[in-house]
Amino acid sequence: MTKLLEVKNLVTHFVTQDGIVQAVNGVSFEVNQGEIVALVGESGCGKTVSSLSVLQLIPQPPGKIVDGKVIFAGMDLLKKSKEEMQKIRGSRISMIFQEPMTSLNPVLTIGRQLTEGLQFHLKLDKKEATRQAVELLKSVGIPHAEGRLNDYPHHFSGGMRQRVMIAMALACEPQLVIADEPTTAVDVTIQAQLLDLIRNLTLRLNTALIIITHNLGVVARYAQRVYVMYAGQIMEQGTAIDVYHNPLHPYTAGLLGSVPRLDEPRRTRLQPIDGQPPDLIAPPQGCPFAPRCVYVKPECKLKRLPLVEINSGHFTACLVAQEGALPWKKILSLK
């Protein structure tokens, strides 16, 4: 498989009144051509900031990409000028945002917003762009597509708006689509419709897909490889099967233990993770999960732990696992 995107040691900070927030703190990940990769984590773990950094959509200031490399198809995106990035965004890498109501422009028609990218990137004339826009709306399952080009975003329901977003993201047949919590604002039956649509379209175009989500079920259904993030760092990475069936980090195990599952006998009690994520203005020196970790050792708190490959392609930043013990397996088998 060819490597399409490689993020190396990315560090993104935000300057606030209270201090510098270390939102992303040395994150590395890769995406191969046509692959579906998930970044999983809870709010504030840096999954969205990582992906916005890739596209240089971080507002600067207050944000700042302090360190790292973003290699996309052989180019270092962090060295590109504003104009060069504009040509890449939307045509080679595009994004599906979380809230379609706030990410579509409310005062422009859907047709105008769809044809804008086509005219800019593919240099189509207005007539041809309009024709393609209709095709796009049809391909994402919007009924009466011709008649809807002159409608404004508020004419569409939440699910339909997200379909328009998907059409926009795929308009120029990009090599990489980043979907940031694409279905958190919609109902379960619509969630299933939209995610299937995204998967089928990206498969057809051989487009790689990064799904950013906190929903462990969505990851299990769609992703081939998974990066588990916590407090701006990657805790564990591997194939979806490895990460779910043999978690090498107590945080991953904790997440899996805290969600009820429909396919298993009902447990009388859930196993929550006690405490809260750390303050990223003054994150812990050692492993960021150490303050909440049941299996913590004194060494965990001393210095940052690197990701180490335990099994082929399966990495963990947990010292306990690196030393060969997996005490959390006991709890998971309780389910």
């Binding site: 809870e42 109902d187 379960v188 969630q191 462990l216 259904r221 779910y244 929550p272």
Partner: protein, 329 residues
């Protein structure tokens, strides 16, 4: 069985007028947010209420609490029909019926301290002096917070802690019945489990009954004894938890359950998912016959014509779908 029913809802309807005209006085149409819903909640039971946005599940909760007055129907609690009482007559009953809201970021007054928030119901019901402070400390401990946090403001708490405050406020007047309206949806997964366990502990400790409103079917299965499914203002299926999840009868329930992704890639790879067509139609102009028929994968020619009634197909399993002979009017 009849005796241990704590709350009974009969034929509840709530219509909202759609107004127009220059002064907004012309009534153009009606939205049938809740349309003829009947159910009972037993003492010590958690009844889960599932549905997508716009199904009317929150409206049911608000009407039980009399935060909205129903258009018609009865809500029986302690041998009184709450819907027929005046605001003044309702007061003693309000203590016993409490609510935990969805978003702990919006349902707590930012200018109130934790003690003010939890203490407000106490003040309204004239608890004073040393008793007042003692009760606040007690309530904070009860929900897993520390009494020294009493003077903090909501922004000094995390999301999970804020929801604990919301729970403490609901508990202040020793209620018997709590409506939990999507209490987890604003929280992260690892924190959700903390609140679920807290609600469970409190229920056992005080013998509470819950109406647990949620769109998360896995959580509802975990927490509920019985489950109701709503769609476009109507009940589709009511059953005890295990028979609902093991043998869902209504096609809508079947589709909902199959749409929930399971956090296991190996299971997901094998699973056949029912993907419903289209979206929830506008409640302004609901479909004829069975309201679900335009999206139903099992619909047949009678579905647009006949309105199904709730029928009991097996003990404690009720469904409203024409596939079952019990549901023909």
């Amino acid at each position: 069985m009849e005796k241990d029913i704590i709350l009974e809802v009969t034929n509840l309807t709530k219509y909202f007028p759609v107004t127009g005209g220059f002064f907004g006085r012309k009534k153009l149409a009606e939205v049938k947010a809740v349309d003829g819903v009947s159910f009972a909640i037993h003492k010590g039971e958690t009844l889960g209420l599932v549905g997508e946005s716009g199904s009317g599940k929150t409206t049911v909760g608000k009407n039980i609490l009399q935060l909205q007055r129903p258009t018609s129907g009865e809500i029986w609690f302690k041998n009184k029909d709450l819907a027929s009482l005046s605001n003044k007559e309702l007061r003693p009953y309000r203590q016993k019926l409490q609510v935990v809201f969805q978003d702990p970021y919006e349902s707590l007054d930012p200018r109130f301290t934790a003690a003010d928030i939890i203490g407000e119901p106490l003040r309204l019901h004239k608890v004073k002096g040393g008793e007042y402070n003692k009760r606040i400390a007690e309530l904070l401990k009860l929900v897993g917070l520390s009494p020294y946090m009493a003077e903090r403001y909501p922004h000094e708490f995390s999301g999970g802690q804020r929801q604990r405050l919301g729970v403490a406020r609901a508990l202040a007047l020793q209620p018997e019945f709590i409506v939990c309206d999507e209490p987890l949806s604003a929280l992260d997964v690892s924190i959700q489990a903390q609140i679920i366990n807290l609600l469970d502990d409190l229920k056992n400790k005080f013998g509470l009954s819950y109406l647990f409103i949620s769109h998360d079917l896995s959580v509802v299965r975990h927490i509920s004894d019985r489950v109701m499914v709503m769609y476009l203002g109507k009940l589709m299926e009511v059953a005890d938890r295990d028979s609902m999840y093991e043998k869902p009868l209504h096609p809508y329930t079947q589709a909902l359950l199959s749409a929930v992704p399971i956090p296991d890639p190996a299971v997901e790879a094998e699973r056949k998912v029912i993907i419903l067509k289209g979206e929830v139609p506008s409640p302004l102009n609901p479909p004829t016959g069975c309201v679900f028929h335009p999206r139903c994968f099992k619909a047949f020619e009678d579905c647009p014509k006949v309105v199904p009634v709730m029928g009991e197909t097996s003990p404690d399993h009720h469904v409203a779908c024409l596939l079952y002979k019990e549901c023909w009017p």
